[in-house]
């Protein structure tokens, strides 16, 4: 079976983001961009499925600016087979992304789409569920374990109360959580090999999808800054402060 992994280029998780002074968004000039960490986990899982003989081919897709090709290359260096880049300079929202992924699924016919549970920039946590809805496929979100089972998958999910296991019939959507696996680093030979792997280029128009946003961002501000407090010298002083100043105990 083919596995499709959508990968998103996001601000690196180590970068301290700055809100633009005009309030139009977050300053992305000259900041380090990386693959969304959850998507690295999704790519890793797809490659393991291939190594384990369950998957036949791993295709990665990224939608966005030209530099998304770097993100695709990273996935190819990890071991994915080929890439698809849908080029768009617009502000993309999950509904539009999900519609484009739906079109890619129609072209490629994967049996499984593995996505990150959320992208760490917009923190929407939507795309996988929306893609599942558009395709009429089952969804197993926040996966921490995946076990192939005869035309289906048993997926363990991280939920508020603990862990839940669901059975989903293939084709299916799985969104991955942090503890599914530890992604590998690409080796130098594999980085070299990845340069020769194909990346097909397309556009939202080619896919017949409008990328026009439904949500208008009216402004972006910094949250109120929390004032650092005081250091206390001892446990006694701490308890005294909590009792008499903060009055929380």
């Amino acid at each position: 079976m083919k596995v499709l992994v959508p990968v998103k280029r996001v601000i690196d998780y180590n970068v301290k983001v700055r809100v633009k002074t005009d309030g139009s968004g977050v300053d992305l000039t000259n900041v380090k961009m990386s693959m969304n960490p959850f998507d690295e986990i999704a790519v890793e899982e797809a490659i393991r499925l291939k190594e384990g003989g369950t998957a036949s081919e791993v295709i990665v897709a990224s939608i966005g600016v030209q530099q998304c090709q770097e993100t695709i290359r990273t996935a190819l260096a990890m071991g994915a087979d080929r890439g698809i880049h849908v080029k768009s300079d617009e502000e993309l929202q999950p509904l539009a992304v999900a519609k484009m992924l739906q079109a890619i699924v129609a072209q490629e016919g994967p049996s499984l789409v593995l996505l990150g549970k959320q992208a760490i920039d917009d923190d929407a946590n939507q795309t996988g569920q929306m893609l599942a809805a558009l395709l009429g496929w089952p969804q197993a979100t926040f996966a921490s374990k995946l076990a192939p089972a005869d035309g289906a998958l048993n997926v363990t999910r991280e939920v508020d109360g603990g862990l839940q296991t669901v059975w989903v019939k293939l084709p299916a959507i799985v969104t991955v959580d942090l503890r599914l696996n530890e992604p590998r680093y690409a080796s130098l030979p594999n980085i070299m090999k990845a340069k020769k792997k194909p990346i097909a280029a397309s556009t939202p128009e080619d896919l017949g999808v409008s990328a026009a946003p439904r949500l208008k961002t009216l402004g972006v501000v910094e949250p109120p800054k929390r004032q650092g407090g005081v250091k206390v010298a001892s446990v006694e002083e701490l308890v005294d402060k909590l009792k008499n100043d903060a009055r929380v105990i």
């Binding site: 509904l95 549970k117 760490i120 599942a132 979100t141 839940q164 946003p213 402004g219 701490l238």
Partner: protein, 313 residues
């Protein structure tokens, strides 16, 4: 305007986050209806009918709705949604699993995890791990929204006597099935609604050592949380994780022990009223946001703190 709130419940009782979602709905304004979908969920529906500000309860009670799988529940919500201006749910793992599926079926772009209501079509939401707050306006005819529970006051659980109307549940399309669960059972308060949270990080060192927080938590009536590093290391189960990609908490008192204060962790707790940090590294970033910082070895400080609290009564 009329708003459909999707209740989070276990068939018997409502989960506290439902009351915060109703609180957000009340800020939007208009009639508030609440959907209770499950199996044998009449007690939860009756509880929902008492929630202050609720005008009507819709109850869907069917075997197919056991465990509220999104594949069954989403079409049910979609069928009901056309009568409403807003569909809202708490931003719990259930809400996050369900509402985007509803949104896509309605051809609506959902709005995740709102932290404020500016007007019926304009909302604030944290992005980039809470390092920026975006104000977004929706042009969709139905607004599909998940609500950050800690950002809205809970409404009173009683006060209304709303009628319960039964709605038909859709067929199970057979795409998915609940297999089993492993819930961390705890006599402690629920993490996201506790008044006090005591969290441990990698500094705890091991699962056994993590237990030293029990006595402290017992004394404070606290829920126990953790950093991702502590969960990854297997000290505690996944549902303890506080942060950008775990749970968001905003208790009266948050005690961070052996936690360095990475932005991903801060995203989940920096709206707490009072923050205490205990860390042996005086440069740890957690001290930059803590109201009270104690530079100390936790294995010494935690037992001392427990003893001192007992003394203070």
């Amino acid at each position: 305007m009329s708003i459909l709130v999707i209740a989070e419940h276990d068939n018997e009782t409502l989960k506290p986050a439902t009351l915060n979602a109703v609180g957000a709905a009340a800020q939007v304004g208009g009639d508030i209806h609440i959907l209770v979908a499950g199996t044998g969920c009449k007690p939860a529906a009756e509880a929902a009918g008492q929630v202050a500000g609720v005008a009507k309860v819709l109850m869907a009670d069917a075997p197919a709705l056991d465990h509220q799988m999104a594949e069954v529940l989403a079409p049910l919500v979609v069928g009901l949604a056309t009568g409403y201006s807003h569909v809202m749910a708490p931003a719990t793992t259930n809400g996050k699993n369900l509402l985007p599926r509803v949104g896509a079926l309605l051809d609506v772009q959902p709005i995740s995890d709102i932290s404020a209501v500016d007007s019926p079509d304009t909302f604030q939401r944290p992005i980039y791990a809470g390092n920026a707050i975006a104000t977004v306006q929706s042009s969709d005819p139905i607004k599909v929204i998940t609500v950050r529970a800690t950002a809205f006051d809970a409404v009173e659980p009683t006060g209304s006597t709303a009628p319960i109307e039964t709605v038909d549940a859709p067929e199970d399309p057979g795409l998915s099935r609940f297999v089993g669960q492993e819930l961390s059972d705890s006599s402690r308060p629920e993490l996201t609604s506790a008044r006090v949270v005591v969290s441990g990080g990698r500094g705890m060192g091991s699962a056994e050592a993590f237990n030293i927080l029990d006595g402290l938590a017992d004394h404070l009536g606290a829920a126990i949380g953790a950093s991702r590093a502590a969960v990854d290391a297997g000290y505690v189960p996944n549902d303890y994780q506080v942060g950008q990609t775990g749970k968001v908490v905003a208790p009266e008192l948050y005690v961070a022990i052996g936690i360095s204060g990475a932005i991903q962790h801060l995203a989940g707790m920096k709206d707490s009223k009072v923050i205490v940090a205990i860390n042996k590294d005086e440069e740890a970033p957690i001290f930059q946001i803590a109201d009270y910082g104690l530079v100390a070895d936790l294995f010494k400080a935690v037992p001392e703190l427990e003893a001192e609290l007992k003394k203070a009564g």
